[in-house]
Symmetry: C2
């Protein structure tokens, strides 16, 4: 079985965006009414999933996608807590319906109603709701809710601990995933996403978060940002900063996905990072949707790169499903119950 | 001949830091006197260069280093223009003395007296002084003088054009290099430096700067940040954003150094990026000073990785000197005059 750990509902029906627009209009003009939840039929959901994520997954031969709301639309920079709560609930409910309509193909991961530097109680509550009521298996955690202004403390700061406590209690991991960039200097997909991955890893390297939360788990997407390419640099900085060995400090708790869109990048990732820390992911349908003129294949068809990499069958099974089942034990439990 | 395009005077005599401390003390208390220029003898300079950069270069078999003031101490976040001008002048004069004392071993690159969002006239003047009076061959350009708050416009914005006009007039390139991070979220060496490299490349990809300045040249250090590892992502985003081919849009003007501190990273860089766009660099003595326990060699001994890479003799000569002589024509001219 092949589990794609990184998919977003980027193709949601237009009623979702209309709801968001109404939310933002009301923030600009509080005289407007609170928007009603978007009316989206099951058929509309099917029509946006079947010809997109589901078709592509079938074509590529992947089985199940760990699925979350569209990352760039999480919009945590909209600094109104009530708006954030309602928006996360609506987005998560919609993902929940996808997982109900296609239980064999999708497992849910939730968006949190984060607001930069605001207390995390609402995020804790939404995570609890999504996991215990909707059957979700993880969450997306935004290390920079300001949208590329980086106003939040590092992930090792106790500001984040209430969320970590809930994650540990529920035994769910977080993917560290920012949302859109509001900073003209940082392109969302080409700079902010990758920078956030690198920044988060370095924050973790400088702290001892997993000494305090030994079972806390993070997936750093986009192949770990710049980290595997600069693995020697990170080991060297760790030495210089008198950090414990990276293997024990981080690598029982930190995992990278395979959203790296060419063969040399995937080869490097699998050469440098222990295979037990790499989870298959494609971010399909995501940031990079085109066809690579050199290969004639979709850039984000990352399964092909892994198939072409020098892995044993056992290693390949780890990357394609074993690691995901270990990092997302609630997914593993569901799959076991289904005899998978 | 082997040219290291990326070295900083990280070992400068303590009088330099004492001068900086006096500058900052005066900013806090304007009643203090303007500090006198640091008194540093030629012998002190020799004693900080010979057992450090020069010894290591000889041990590694490199000949000449393109040398600039310590990047993390440029301190452009200190938002006082007069302080920035004096600090850049003092730092550049010291690098100038290094190039005078060791003319066969060092060529100068200057620090600019940048202040976030302030006019660039002082930077233009300092660049002109360093090139025409001190014989420097390039400059370091900080795309984020705020120190990891990213308050400046993208490098494609006309804010930067006065500097580019001077660079074109003098025919000198800039290395895109940030200074220390003032943002607790972003570690200077492990996050901010790499993020800046990635961010700058993406800014250039979204603009048409070299259509306007066809002879402008940038070196993006640290192996291009995350860019080569994610080359497929950048090509895919370029397609998605309807950008012209990256080769013609950027790769006549943008170059990456080899400050990537392990063999797989260098192998990927040389596999993905045209060899004509890669300049040997080590950042020695720089961010990563330790010995890799796996190899028993210094992490930043990047010459070894390149020697071990699969390059023809001609390609190797390009990376080790030919490209640098092309990107830094004022250096090439000096070398030719010496019969090199």
């Amino acid at each position: 079985m092949i589990i794609d750990c990184h998919g977003h509902y980027t193709t949601a029906p237009p009623a979702l965006q209309a709801y968001r627009d109404a939310q933002l209009a009301r923030l600009a003009d509080p005289a407007r009414p609170v928007p009603a939840d978007p009316a989206i039929s099951d058929d509309e959901i099917r029509q946006t999933i079947e010809p997109n994520q589901l078709r592509i997954a079938r074509e590529r031969g992947t089985d199940l996608t760990i699925f979350s709301p569209r990352a760039s639309h999480m919009g945590h920079h909209i600094a109104d807590p009530a708006t954030a709560v309602a928006w996360a609930r609506v987005c998560n409910d919609l993902v929940g319906r996808v997982t109900t309509l296609f239980p064999g193909n999708f497992a849910g991961v939730c968006q949190l109603p984060q607001v930069a530097n605001a207390p995390l109680a609402a995020s804790v509550a939404e995570l609890d709701r999504c996991v215990t009521e909707l059957g979700f298996v993880g969450c997306n955690l935004n290390p920079d809710p300001s949208g590329a202004w980086w106003t939040s403390p590092p992930l090792t700061d106790e500001y984040w601990f209430p969320l970590y406590e809930k994650m540990v209690e529920l035994d769910v991991p977080a993917m560290i995933h920012v949302s859109t960039s509001c900073n003209p200097a940082a392109h969302t997909l080409g700079a902010h996403y990758l920078n956030a991955d690198t920044t988060a890893f370095m924050q973790l390297l400088m702290g001892d978060l997993f000494g305090r939360f030994p079972t806390l788990r993070f997936v750093i997407p986009h192949g770990g940002g710049a980290v595997p390419y600069h693995w020697g640099r990170f080991l060297g900085i760790a030495t210089r900063e008198n950090r414990p060995p990276v293997e024990t400090l981080l690598m029982n708790n930190v995992f990278f996905d395979t959203c790296v869109y060419h063969q040399p990048g995937i080869d490097l990732l699998l050469q440098v990072i222990d295979v037990g820390n790499v989870l298959f992911g494609s971010e399909m349908v995501g940031a990079v949707r085109g066809i690579d003129p050199e290969t004639g294949r979709y850039f984000d068809d990352t399964k092909r790169y892994i198939d072409a990499a020098e892995l044993t069958e056992a290693e390949s099974a780890q990357v394609f499903s074993g690691n995901a089942r270990r990092v997302y034990p609630r997914l593993d439990k569901v799959l076991r119950e289904r005899g998978l």
